[in-house]
């Protein structure tokens, strides 16, 4: 769930007077709750440690790795590190497509719910958007692969025919035509966009709702139209919140597995042709597709990839949290 951080209560919590003998139950309960908190820290440390332990063989002994894993082919430019390079590129490319589609829509939805929709309906309409987040990713994958992709195929073909000169929409160089399957990076990006919209719009909505009323009313009193009020009062106040929300969406898109796995026809290149099939793959989808048949060395190599994904999402999420929390510090306007 992606709420913004709960506000710290400014009040000092009352403390009970110490009884003559501090009760044992009291201490035990305090210890229990602190213990649970420490468990969380241990779990995170364990995630990093165990992943590193399992990845270690693949990281250190590349000769044995190359000999034991059929899909690692250093002679064809597909050593483990090169594959990770392709996958990181594919992951970023598809996530960026998703964000380019999702961010404007999500900001529009957030504005609709915070400033445009009738007050009475706003929360119910917001709930409708939250339902999008409740649908399991495997159902998105199934729908994307069996319904959306066949629907989009002619659209993609038209894009390739009409805007083929534009590098992103270039036709497949080997056939000179659009992808016959439609299982391309753009299709995966569109489905990911649908999945991250509720996350981005939920955070953005909260930020927009916190715009100081006085700023809005001042803008309206000066004769601003509603749009001018939004531009003058709401956007400047919410800008960093929108950026943080987008990064949270990025964090989700980077780690999304099933939808990409089921929609994308995979391949390993650095191609920017988002309408060509068999050119891209993402880290998570690659792991999901190779894992069931992998031997011990293959698993080790895949866990190395998982570690790379873990580190990337960790950095993105930390940056996002930092941006969102910085906004809280500097919103001293109200």
């Amino acid at each position: 769930m992606t709420q913004t951080k709960a506000e710290e209560a400014p009040l000092v919590r009352p403390e009970p007077l110490e009884a003559s003998a501090p009760s044992r139950a009291n201490k035990a309960f305090a210890g229990l709750s602190a213990g649970s908190a420490i468990v969380i820290l241990i779990v995170l440390a364990a995630v990093a440690t165990f992943l590193l332990t399992e990845a270690w063989p693949a990281l250190t002994d590349s000769a044995t790795l190359d000999a034991n894993v059929s899909w690692i082919r250093p002679d064809q430019g597909e050593s483990l590190i090169e594959i990770i390079g392709y996958l990181v590129f594919g992951t970023l490319l598809i996530s960026v497509i998703a964000l380019v589609i999702a961010t404007p829509l999500a900001v529009g939805i957030a504005l609709f719910i915070s400033h445009y929709a009738p007050r009475r309906l706003a929360s119910s309409l917001g709930y409708l958007i939250d339902l999008l987040a409740a649908i399991p990713s495997v159902v998105y994958g199934l729908w994307g692969a069996m319904v959306l992709v066949p629907f989009l195929r002619p659209v993609f073909a038209w894009l390739t025919d009409t805007f083929g000169w534009f590098p992103l929409f270039a036709p497949d160089p080997s056939t000179g035509a659009a992808s016959p399957t439609g299982r391309v990076a753009l299709a995966a990006g569109i489905v990911l966009a649908i999945m991250v919209i509720p996350i981005i719009s939920a955070v953005t909505r909260e930020v927009f709702l916190q715009t100081p009323k006085l700023h809005e009313e001042a803008a309206l009193a000066m004769g601003a139209t509603r749009w001018e009020m939004v531009r003058m009062a709401v956007f400047p106040f919410g800008r960093s919140g929108v950026i943080g929300a987008t990064m949270l969406g990025l964090g989700r898109a980077l780690g999304e597995t099933m939808a990409v796995y089921m929609i994308l026809s995979s391949g390993l290149t650095f191609s920017f042709g988002i309408l060509q099939s068999g050119k891209h793959n993402t880290i998570a989808a690659y792991i999901a597709s190779q894992f069931p048949e992998a031997n011990n060395w293959g698993v080790s190599a895949l866990i190395t990839m998982g570690l790379a994904l873990f580190i990337i999402t960790l950095l993105v999420n930390m940056l996002a949290r930092w941006i969102v929390s910085r906004r809280a510090e500097f919103s001293g306007a109200n």
């Binding site: 951080k5 009970p16 007077l17 332990t53 529009g108 495997v138 069931p292 994904l309 999402t313």
Partner: protein, 318 residues
């Protein structure tokens, strides 16, 4: 926040009126566009999902509930039999185990953060709970797999491994939701309890947690509805199975999301034997029907969560 009719003060310039109108139209259509996938997807899942329920073992068009009462044991080719009983049990058991692990840890951590925490440890826990919400689900699966490989033996895939993976995803969600609920409990209640000489741990358990119980239940239900649809970690940590397995600690298990993927992966069934009843689209029917069941479960949980919070909200609000 009604926009004053500007005619009394003078006319808006055409440019400004145009911009305002365009922006309004764009904002409304953004919302409309977001509803398209929701409606389209729900429609597809319902219209494609019901078909398996109207196909009996002879390939005739008859309503039956075989799909909910059979596993996939011994189901081969395009035989219009086979169902999700094993997957439903797997999902129930794994999700229950996940909840048993995550709910106490999550709620107690929230209690720590709200009632006890101070200083460095509190800041560290708050920060790392945020970090934990960002762990990709497949990485959680890899972690559980690595843990089981090292502790039990390489290649161990059991239901419990899956529960560990899902717990990594569920704990931060429970902490976040519970923390917010506990903060809503008015300080006066705590003060009143202390004034009566109630020790702190009893105040927390009998006053604070009891006041927030509806909110906690809502948060936990929503968290369950989130993890119940997770696929990637279970694919990695639990694997596939065709038969019933009630033992979380031994052998692979099937779960609903993984069932959807595995049926989808099979592709259309090949009909070679003219004597056997064969429906080529049966795998597709099964995948959609399982998706329908999964969505119904998730939506029911969401609805329950909303009902709980609505049923208890007025009392807490006044």
């Amino acid at each position: 926040m009604a926009i004053a009719d500007s005619t009394t003060l003078g006319q808006l310039s055409t440019g400004r009126r145009f911009k305002n109108g365009t922006a309004t139209a764009l904002v409304y259509s953004a919302f409309g566009v977001a509803l398209i996938p929701l409606v389209w997807l729900s429609f597809t899942v319902i219209t494609k999902g019901y078909k398996r329920f109207f196909l009996d073992a002879n390939g005739e068009h008859n309503f039956n509930l075989d799909f909910l009462q059979q596993s996939m044991r011994g189901v081969v080719g395009g035989s219009p039999t086979g169902g999700i009983l094993h997957a439903i049990w797997g999902t129930l058991l794994i999700t229950a185990a996940t909840a048993i692990i995550s709910v106490p840890i999550g709620i107690m951590t929230a209690v720590y953060l709200v009632e006890y925490g101070r200083g460095r440890l509190k800041r560290a826990v708050t920060f790392f709970v945020d970090v934990m919400t960002g762990i990709p689900s497949i990485v959680a699966g890899l972690f559980a797999y690595a843990l089981a490989s090292i502790i039990i033996g390489p290649g161990t895939k059991t239901g419990f491994t899956g529960a560990v993976a899902l717990s990594v995803l569920m704990i931060p969600v429970v902490v976040r939701a519970s923390e917010e609920m506990l903060r809503l409990v008015p300080n006066e209640l705590r003060e009143a309890a202390y004034a009566l000489g109630v020790p702190k741990w009893l105040t927390v358990t009998k006053v604070v947690l009891r006041t927030a119980i509806a909110g906690l239940a809502t948060g936990v239900t929503l968290a369950i509805s989130r993890v119940i649809g997770e696929t990637a970690p279970l694919l990695v940590a639990v694997g596939f199975a065709d038969s019933m397995n009630f033992n979380l600690f031994e052998g692979r298990m099937m779960t609903l999301p993984v069932y959807i993927v595995s049926e989808w992966k099979k592709g259309p069934a090949v009909c070679n034997d003219p004597t056997a009843v064969c429906v080529p689209e049966i795998t597709e029917y099964r995948a959609w029907a399982a998706a329908l069941v999964l969505i119904l479960i998730v939506m029911t949980l969401n609805l329950v969560a909303r009902l709980i919070s609505r049923a208890f909200a007025p009392k807490a609000g006044r």
